[in-house]
C-alpha cells in the first residue's frame, strides 16, 4: 500500500519533469520559427487580430469596472483622512502596477489561452499537424510560432488598454459621481506616478505574463492527447496553470521591483 503510494509519487514526479523538459524544448523550437514568421507578416497579423480581438472587449469592459470599483473603495478610505484628492494616484498606481497586468493576464488565459489550446489540440486530433509535417511544413513554425508571437505582443497592449480604461473608469466614478476635484485627480496622478518605477515595471510584468500564458496555452494544445477528452483536459489545464503561473510570478516580480522601496 505504502509502497504503491511511493511508486505513484515517483511516477508523477518523473512525468512532471518530463513534461517540463518537453515544454522547454518546444519553446526553443518555436522560437526558431520566429524569424520565419517575421518574414511573413500576414500570418502574424491574422493571429494578432484573432487573439487580440478575442480579448479586446472583455478586457476593456473589465478594466472599466475594476477602475470604478477602485474609485469607490479608495474614496471611502481616503475621505476619512481628508485625502480624497489623492484618489487619482491610488487608482492609477493600483492599476498600472498590479491589477492591469494581473487581471489582464488572467482574463487573457481564460479567453484567448483556452481558445488557442483547443484550436491547436483539435488540429492535432484531426491529424492536421501531422498532415502538415508530411507536406514538409513544420507546424511549430507555421502554426505555433505565429500564435505564440501574437500572444506575446498582444498582452502588454491589452494590459495598457485595461489600465487606460480603468483609470478613466476611476475618473468617471471619482470625479463624476463622488465629486473629487478634476484637476487634483489628474495632476496628483501625473506627479506621483513615475514612468520608470511604475509604468515600465507594469509593462515588464505584462510582457512576462504574456510569454508565460501563451507558452502554456500553445504547449498544452500541442501536447494534447489527441482525443476529445484530451483536448478538454488540456484546455482546463491551460486556464489553471496560467492562473497559478501569473499569480506566483506576480509575487516574485513585485518583490524584485518594489521590494526595497
Amino acid at each position: 500500500m505504502m509502497l504503491e503510494w511511493v511508486r505513484q509519487l515517483g511516477r508523477s514526479g518523473i512525468d512532471f519533469f518530463e513534461k517540463l523538459g518537453r515544454g522547454h524544448l518546444f519553446l526553443v523550437k518555436t522560437l526558431a520559427g520566429v524569424p520565419e514568421v517575421l518574414a511573413r507578416p500576414r500570418l502574424l497579423i491574422a493571429q494578432l487580430l484573432s487573439v487580440g480581438v478575442l480579448s479586446f472587449m472583455l478586457i476593456a469592459i473589465s478594466g472599466l469596472f475594476v477602475g470604478m470599483v477602485l474609485a469607490l473603495q479608495g474614496y471611502n478610505t481616503l475621505v476619512d483622512f481628508g485625502a480624497e484628492e489623492s484618489l487619482g494616484v491610488v487608482v492609477a498606481l493600483s492599476i498600472v502596477r498590479e491589477l492591469g497586468p494581473v487581471v489582464t493576464a488572467l482574463l487573457f488565459a481564460g479567453r484567448a489561452g483556452s481558445a488557442l489550446t483547443a484550436e491547436i489540440g483539435l488540429m492535432k486530433a484531426t491529424e492536421q499537424l501531422s498532415g502538415m509535417e508530411m507536406m514538409a511544413v513544420d507546424p511549430l513554425h507555421r502554426v505555433i510560432a505565429p500564435r505564440f508571437l501574437a500572444g506575446v505582443i498582444s498582452m502588454p497592449l491589452l494590459a495598457a488598454i485595461f489600465s487606460a480604461v480603468g483609470i478613466w473608469g476611476g475618473y468617471f466614478v471619482g470625479v463624476g459621481l463622488l465629486g473629487v476635484d478634476e484637476g487634483a485627480y489628474w495632476s496628483q496622478m501625473q506627479d506621483k506616478v513615475d514612468f520608470l518605477d511604475d509604468i515600465l515595471n507594469g509593462v515588464i510584468k505584462s510582457a512576462v505574463f504574456g510569454v508565460v500564458t501563451t507558452w502554456i496555452a500553445v504547449f498544452e494544445g500541442y501536447d494534447t492527447i489527441p482525443t476529445s477528452e484530451g483536448v478538454s483536459r488540456a484546455t482546463t489545464r491551460t486556464v489553471v496553470h496560467s492562473a497559478f503561473a501569473v499569480l506566483g510570478l506576480d509575487f516574485v516580480l513585485t518583490a524584485l521591483m518594489f521590494g526595497d522601496s
Binding site: 488540429m123 498532415g131 509535417e133 507536406m135
Partner: protein, 277 residues
C-alpha cells in the same frame, strides 16, 4: 526474400530491411523486408491494426524504427537531418486515412497550401494548378466549400488533390477507397492508375479493400502480426497456397490470421469477473 521478383537497386524507390518497431510492449513490426519498385503501384494489405498506417509513417520519417533500415530514393530516412527530411518529404505525397484537411481553409486554399508554402509562383499560376488538380478528382465545383461541408469521401479526394499539388515522385495512399460510393470508387481507381502512369509516380496503397486494390496494383505485400506473410503479383497471390494470404484475399473469417487483438483466453477472462480488470 523475394529474390526472384527483387528488382535491381536503382529500380527500388523504397527499400525496407529488417524493420522492427514497437509501441510500448506491443510489437508492431518484427523484422519486415519490403521493396517498393519505382513507377509501379504497390499495395500493402493486412488486417486492421497490423500497422499499415504505422508503416507509412515510418517511410515518411514521422516515426523512427527501433531497428532496421528504411531507405527512400537511396536516402536512409531515420538518419536524415531535419532539413534533408523536409526536402525529401516535398517529393512524397501522403493521403491520410482521415484526409487531414486544414479546417480553417476552404477546398481551394487547402489544395493551394503546399504550393504557397513551397513555391513562389504567382497567384494566377497557382489558380491554374489548383483547378487542374481539383478537376482531376472531380471536385472543381466544390472549391468554395469548407472541409466541414464535405463528406468523408469528398474530403479524401480533396486531400488527394492536395497530395499531388507539388507533383511528387511518390504518393502514399492510406485507405483511399473507404467511404467512396461505387462511382467515385471506380473513378478513383482509374485516377490512381492514371496518375501513376501519366506522371510517372510511384504509388503505395495501403488498404483492406482486396478487390479494388488487387485490380490496380502491380505488386502486393500482405502483412500480418508484424511479418510479411506473402507477396507477389495479384495473379500469383490468387494462386498462392499460403493459408494466410488465401484467408485474407478471400476474406475468410477462420484461418491463421486472427480477427482478435491479442487477448487472454476468452473463457478465463469472463470467469475472472470478480476482480475488475
Amino acid at each position: 526474400m523475394a529474390e526472384a521478383a527483387n528488382p535491381s537497386q536503382s529500380d527500388v524507390l523504397v527499400r525496407i530491411r529488417d524493420l522492427h518497431f514497437s509501441r510500448g510492449e506491443h510489437m508492431i513490426f518484427d523484422g519486415i523486408d519490403l521493396d517498393i519498385p519505382r513507377g509501379k503501384i504497390t499495395a500493402i494489405m493486412g488486417p486492421s491494426g497490423t500497422g499499415k498506417t504505422t508503416l507509412l509513417r515510418l517511410i515518411g520519417g514521422q516515426l523512427y524504427p527501433d531497428r532496421g533500415s528504411v531507405q527512400v530514393d537511396g536516402e536512409e530516412v531515420p538518419s536524415l537531418r531535419r532539413g534533408e527530411l523536409y526536402e525529401l518529404r516535398k517529393r512524397m505525397g501522403m493521403l491520410f486515412q482521415s484526409g487531414a484537411l486544414l479546417t480553417d481553409l476552404d477546398v481551394y486554399d487547402n489544395v493551394a497550401f503546399p504550393l504557397r508554402e513551397h513555391t513562389a509562383l504567382p497567384e494566377s499560376m497557382i489558380r491554374d494548378l489548383v483547378l487542374m488538380k481539383l478537376q482531376a478528382v472531380g471536385l472543381r465545383g466544390a472549391r468554395h466549400l469548407m472541409p466541414s461541408e464535405l463528406s468523408g469521401g469528398m474530403a479524401r479526394r480533396v486531400a488527394l488533390a492536395r497530395a499531388i499539388a507539388l507533383d511528387p515522385m511518390m504518393i502514399m495512399y492510406d485507405e483511399p477507397f473507404t467511404g467512396q460510393d461505387p462511382i467515385s470508387m471506380g473513378a478513383l481507381v482509374q485516377l490512381i492508375r492514371l496518375l501513376n502512369d501519366a506522371l510517372g509516380l510511384t504509388s503505395i496503397i495501403v488498404s483492406h479493400d482486396v478487390q479494388e486494390t488487387a485490380a490496380i496494383s502491380d505488386y502486393i505485400y500482405v502483412i500480418s502480426r508484424g511479418k510479411v506473410v506473402g507477396h507477389g503479383t495479384p495473379d500469383a497471390l490468387d494462386k498462392t497456397d499460403s493459408e494466410w494470404v488465401r484467408q485474407f484475399m478471400l476474406g475468410l473469417p477462420d484461418g491463421p490470421v486472427p480477427f482478435h487483438y491479442p487477448a487472454p483466453d476468452y473463457r478465463e477472462d469472463l470467469l475472472q469477473g470478480g476482480e475488475a480488470g
